[in-house]
């Protein structure tokens, strides 16, 4: 029997548990020529706030062993630009669209959520309290369980859309943050964002990134993220979307075994844009091999 790959994560109906992570897939349209987007479980678009954002100076990216550092700084068109320029295309793709949102202030998150609440074609909002590359907002809101609670509560009051809270990896105990998001009304968690990192040009004796520090993603992050998913899953009853260094089906299955309900492919999109589709096939093969009918059976 063909296994059923469909999942329902916080009310978002997905054909399969494999989507793409925010910041690694633009607004979908950039990859439309390279793969059939409708085969994806979901698309999470690049983080946006109410106002357009120029992002950080360059260089913004740097390859490191096992992955890359980025400090894009959440460049984006603002909610109005996003709705006008990108939503018409996204509505034509038969796939749930999750919009990653951020703000420099609590009110900024609320206003961004307000602008997106009644927009046709948006399946959920992902609250970004964990971007390491912006001076205000982003990870500063994710640094304490109290501020995570405040941001999520405020956004919760603003919208009926399902909310996913994207947590930072560099916290002493992610369970506390996971619980804070759950208690504030988050419907799911995204675990996790990139890990702060740095690289130097030793000849010039200066950081390679203009922002000095960046977020580490790629294979190097994978075992870190697997543990975070495992820990978070032990603390909450809401579903978790696991992400961090998925390059092969086995990497994704590991997250599902550790307790994730769905996964997102990130950096691998840059290297092999068909990674998500290979991962979907790999999960199906795995389920057949283990005689599993539903994705939830993969969890330990």
């Amino acid at each position: 029997m063909k296994p059923d790959l469909s999942v329902n994560v916080a009310g978002i109906k997905m054909k399969n548990p494999v989507g793409v992570a925010s910041g690694t897939f633009g607004y979908g349209v950039e990859y439309a020529e390279l793969l059939d987007l409708s085969q994806l479980g979901f698309i999470t678009v690049k983080g946006i706030r109410k106002e357009p954002c120029e992002g950080n100076p360059t260089p913004r990216i740097w390859e490191v062993p096992g992955g890359m550092l980025n400090a894009i700084g959440l460049q984006g068109p603002g909610t109005e630009g996003f709705i006008e320029d990108y939503m018409p295309f996204l509505r034509t793709v038969d796939v749930p669209v999750i919009v990653n949102i951020w703000g420099t202030t609590l009110n900024g998150y609320v206003q961004t959520a307000e602008d997106l609440s009644d927009v046709d074609g948006i399946a959920a909002l992902e609250i970004n309290v964990s971007c390491p590359n912006v001076k205000e907002g982003g990870s500063s809101f994710g640094a304490s369980p109290k501020s995570v609670f405040e941001v999520v509560s405020a956004v919760r009051k603003t919208t009926k859309l399902p909310l996913i809270t994207k947590l930072a990896p560099n916290v002493p105990d992610i369970r506390v943050f996971a619980k804070a998001a759950e208690e504030a009304g988050s419907d799911a968690l995204a675990v996790s964002n990139t890990l702060p990192g740095m690289a130097f040009d030793i000849e010039e004796r200066r950081p390679v990134l203009a922002n000095k520090t960046g977020g580490l993603s790629g294979s190097a992050l994978h075992p870190v993220a697997v543990k975070l998913v495992w820990d978070a899953a032990s603390a909450v009853n809401i579903p978790i979307i696991g992400m961090g260094g998925i390059f092969e089906p086995a990497d994704a299955i590991e997250f599902l075994v550790a307790g994730a309900s769905a996964v997102a492919v990130g950096t691998a999109n840059f290297i092999d844009p068909s990674t998500s589709l290979r991962v979907i096939d790999g999960i199906e093969d795995y389920m057949k091999r283990h005689d599993m009918d539903t994705v939830s059976q993969i969890a330990v």
């Binding site: 690694t24 894009i72 460049q75 294979s219 999109n269 290297i271």
Partner: protein, 263 residues
């Protein structure tokens, strides 16, 4: 733009750590326009390594050629690619040089391996013109004979004077312009930023059109990651504005007097 599995036809060392990689890519070679680039997945390197972008140096008869210099671990691995291996290529990507205007003489200005897209351009151009190429030393001056063979004038400069005039490529360009003040010209350039900025200034001073191809580290190559942006000036209804253009998707070629050069 697509992904192509391309067999390696040759991977030949040139002088000074430069190589020419030839790949069997029938579709790409028909589709590619001068100035466009491909994003290569390097075999025999850890799987999480990013792709590397390279200008298309030539595209003819089902083969594309890529000129590269060994500068780091990616290009070191590229130098080890053997004939009959396959390379995964994404492309063609980015915009292309506009067709040269008939009544203007095209002047090509290249720094080092910046000759790559300009050679493809020269081969496809119906109007012949002149190439100005500069490099640090003799070994950094590439493909000059190939330009001569297809009927282009060539002028060479090196920083150390080991080939051609001693000095910067913009100095031999100035010399030529001084000798031909009445000739209508259009400039096409590819090289390091300081060279492009110097060409940009000249284009504005001389009141001529110039097209500048930027070289950047890239992530995705398709405009999704926003890793390779460049601040660009553009006209709006109410004046001008500056925005972060994606070199991979909105470029790599930008018109003179639109690039906001960093100090």
């Amino acid at each position: 733009m697509r992904l192509h599995e391309t067999p390696v036809i040759s991977n030949l060392p040139l002088s000074g750590g430069y190589y020419m990689l030839s790949l069997g890519a029938p579709e790409l070679s028909t589709e590619a326009k001068p100035g466009q680039f491909v994003h290569l997945r390097i075999p025999n390197i850890e799987a999480s390594s990013l792709r590397r972008p390279f200008s298309i140096c030539d595209a003819e008869a089902g083969v594309i050629k890529i000129l590269y210099k060994v500068v780091g671990r990616g290009t070191e691995a590229m130098a080890r690619i053997a004939v009959n291996e396959t390379v995964n290529v994404m492309g063609p990507l980015g915009n292309s040089f506009p067709c040269p205007v008939d009544d203007k003489m095209p002047l090509l200005v290249a720094g080092g391996y910046g000759v790559a897209p300009l050679y493809f351009f020269a081969k496809n151009s119906t109007t012949k013109g002149a190439l100005f190429v500069g490099g640090r030393s003799e070994q950094d001056i590439l493909l000059v004979e190939d330009f001569t063979k297809i009927g282009w004038e060539t002028y060479v400069s090196t920083d150390d004077g080991t080939l051609g005039d001693k000095g910067f490529v913009t100095q031999i360009l100035d010399k030529w312009q001084g000798a031909h003040p009445a000739t209508k010209i259009e400039i096409f350039a590819c090289g390091p930023d300081p060279m492009l900025a110097a060409v940009d200034t000249r284009a504005q001073n001389w009141g001529v059109e110039a097209w500048l191809s930027l070289d950047r580290h890239m992530g995705c190559g398709v405009g999704a990651c926003l890793g390779c942006v460049q601040k660009i000036r553009r006209k709006t209804n109410s004046g001008t504005e500056e925005y972060m253009a994606r070199v991979c998707r909105d470029g790599p070629i930008f018109r003179a007097n639109t690039i906001v050069w960093e100090e």
